[in-house]
């Protein structure tokens, strides 16, 4: 229990960082997708800004049209109707017929009504103080002119044409001139507003264009760099995989060659008659048998690895007693352990609940862990195997934790994320000439995940490593159900 506690403390303090490592793992796993997502977000944001600027420019252009062009048209109509007011008054001077004079008076009044309406409309749409002031001035000047016009019309209709002409010369010309100047000034104001709006639109367009080009260039560069980075990382990964495969081939070749060489040598000796006596023959036979088993184990491991990669492989899951599984594995590896002079410390809690698993796969998993512990123990000759019932990491359920521990060379923190990769062997291990295919831990991890569990590691250089197999326990109800159908068909096929 103390060791369990020590191991649990070590797990928390040494090697793994619970929050960042998963994030980094996610980023590493989905780097391409993330990069593309970032590019998409940037492009979308740029697109939003572009649309906004376009909309702003469009609104400005419309405002310019409504405000300036329509306004100029309105002023033009005002000028025309004002001239009509005066023209019709003059025409009344050309006839003595009262009926015709009345008609011209009507025309003049109709024209001035339109002018009044136009001025009121302009006053209503005036926004700035300058516009309001000009509109008020135009209204006053127009009213002044109309007073004179009315007197002129009255004089014409009365027959006093001379008075009418004098009135117009004395007052009408000046007041109409003021009206004309007011209209000119309003027209100039519209021109200025139009020019200003035009300048705004041009500036906005220029800013928008520069912004768009800059952002698109940046996006293009960033996207190109992202794509290049993604492709390069995939290329590197592919290269690394190829290298690993090459190393695996080399390693497997070497692993196969050594026992084959021993077998071949023994066979040669036997054939050459160098082996005499029953004892020597037994000794040679034992060597050949051991080497053959080694080759068989290696091939079995390779085939098992291949089968785990094949998604169609099937595990027969049955309720298993862990203690029995551990004992079985230790029994199978006793010759290796005793031959290497190892001491195995076995700690299995009593009354551990069953787990649902494939016996042979689980046995292979534990075997790989024990073999690794033997290989990487260094000078140490101690292996610890412990099984206990504990809470799962998320505290939502209970699990059985089977720990295989050694006091060997340990694993560098930088290697931690790679040790479960197939064919992976660290440079230090290769330099130490420790034999192996690089498949054991990968196989064990796959088997653990297939059983619904996981494989974790805690290690420190020169102090040793502890590999823990986490297996979810079977609930009581689940156990009853599986017991009922135990002899028929396998309950779960993976």
């Amino acid at each position: 229990m103390r060791r369990q506690t020590k191991y649990s403390l070590r797990r928390k303090t040494i090697g793994s960082v619970p929050l960042i490592d998963p994030v980094l793992g996610l980023i590493a796993r989905y780097s391409s997708t993330l990069l593309l997502l970032v590019v998409f977000l940037i492009v979308t944001t740029v697109g939003i800004f572009v649309m906004r600027d376009l909309h702003t420019t469009n609104v400005e252009a419309q405002k310019m049209y409504v405000g300036s062009v329509l306004g100029l048209r309105r002023i033009g109509e005002l000028q025309y109707e004002a001239q009509e007011t005066r023209r019709a008054t003059f025409y009344a001077l050309t006839t003595d017929d009262s009926n015709l004079q009345i008609e011209y008076a009507d025309q003049s009044r109709e024209a001035d009504r339109l002018v009044n309406e136009g001025i009121i409309e302009y006053l209503r749409q005036a926004r700035t103080p300058h516009e309001i002031e000009m509109a008020s001035r135009l209204q006053d000047d127009w009213s002044e002119y109309l007073k004179v016009r009315n007197e002129v019309l009255a004089s014409i209709l009365e027959g006093s044409t001379r008075e009418a002409v004098d009135l117009d010369l004395a007052g009408g010309v000046q007041s109409f001139d003021r009206v004309r100047q007011d209209l000119e000034e309003i027209k100039r104001l519209y021109d200025e507003q139009a020019s200003q709006r035009l300048a705004n639109v041009v500036a906005t367009s220029r800013r928008f264009a520069i912004r768009l080009i800059a952002v698109l260039a940046f996006t293009l560069i960033f996207a190109s760099a992202s794509v290049w980075a993604i492709q390069r990382s995939k290329m590197l990964a592919a290269i690394q995989l190829a290298n690993l495969q090459m190393e695996f081939v080399a390693s497997v070749s070497h692993e196969l060659r050594t026992p084959l060489a021993v077998i071949s040598s023994a066979a040669d000796n036997i054939v050459d008659g160098l082996v005499s006596g029953k004892e020597e023959l037994q000794r040679y036979g034992s060597v050949i048998r051991n080497q053959s088993r080694q080759i068989t184990e290696l091939v079995d491991q390779i085939l098992l690895f291949a089968s785990t990669q094949d998604r169609r492989s099937r595990y027969v899951l049955r309720p298993l007693q862990i203690s029995q599984v551990i004992d079985s594995v230790l029994d199978n590896t006793s010759e290796l352990l005793q031959g290497a002079g190892f001491v195995v410390e076995r700690q299995i809690e009593a009354s551990l609940p069953c787990v649902l698993g494939d016996l042979s796969a689980l046995s292979q998993c534990l075997r790989n862990l024990i073999v690794n512990a033997v290989k990487y123990s260094g000078e140490s000759r101690w292996i610890g195997i412990r099984a206990l019932l504990a809470d799962s990491e998320d505290r939502a359920s209970r699990e059985i934790q089977i720990t295989v521990q050694d006091r060997g060379i340990g694993i560098d923190r930088l290697e931690m994320s790679h040790i479960f990769e197939p064919f992976y062997r660290s440079a230090a291990v290769i330099a130490a000439q420790i034999h192996g295919a690089g498949l054991g831990l990968s196989l064990a991890k796959n088997i653990a995940e297939a059983m619904g569990g996981k494989l974790s590691v805690v290690s420190e250089l020169a102090l040793g490593s502890a590999f823990t197999l986490h297996l979810p326990i079977m609930e009581e109800q689940e156990l009853k159900m599986t017991a009922a159908s135990f002899d028929s068909t396998p309950l779960i096929q993976i």
Binding site: S98, I102, A154, L157, E158
Partner: protein, 179 residues
């Protein structure tokens, strides 16, 4: 020849008698104050909206329409507006206000211009709409319209303190013939 002393009084007396008889016979029936018949309409006398005049007696109206007045009390020159000969409104005015025939009216104005008493001849317009517009445009104008032809652009004045729609109004006109 009879003596001067007798002839003169005889002639003067005869003259007075003849004059009294003619006067009596010449008098048009007093402007009837009976209400208009169902088929008759009222003739409204209209002035410009700026004219402060509100009421005119029949005698004052007669003076105006005979050109014997040249200016309104506010100093504005009076411009008389008539319709063309043949129009029933003109006939009604000549009959009811001026108590003259068309030729007498023309001679009166011609004589007035000849003597210098009348300053300006009346203006003649073809339609009631023309009369209304003229009165609207000329501050010193006075004209006449059927009451149904009046609108808000002109002001109707009282004649002998009566408006056209009131009882006792004296100016009536036959209805406009339907087309």
């Amino acid at each position: 020849m009879p003596r001067r002393g007798t002839i003169l009084p005889v002639f003067i007396g005869a003259g007075f008698l003849a004059g009294a008889l003619s006067f009596a016979s010449d008098l048009h029936p007093l402007i009837p104050s009976e209400p208009p018949t169902a088929s008759e309409q009222n003739l409204a006398v209209v002035v410009n909206l700026s004219n402060p005049i509100e009421n005119l007696s029949m005698a004052e109206l007669r003076n105006l329409f005979l050109g014997e007045r040249s200016h309104w009390p506010n100093g504005r020159r009076i411009t008389l507006v008539m319709m063309e000969p043949g129009q029933p409104e003109r006939a009604a005015v000549l009959s009811l206000i001026c108590q003259m025939s068309e030729s007498d009216f023309k001679n009166h104005f011609l004589h007035g211009l000849f003597t210098g008493e009348v300053f300006v001849s009346p203006k003649t317009l073809a339609t009631p709409v023309g009369v209304r517009k003229f009165v609207f445009n000329v501050p010193g104008a006075i004209g006449y319209l059927r009451a149904t032809d009046v609108d808000a652009s002109v002001k109707v004045i009282r004649v002998d303190e009566r408006l056209p729609e009131e009882k006792g109004y004296k100016l009536h006109i036959p209805p406009r013939p339907s087309k």
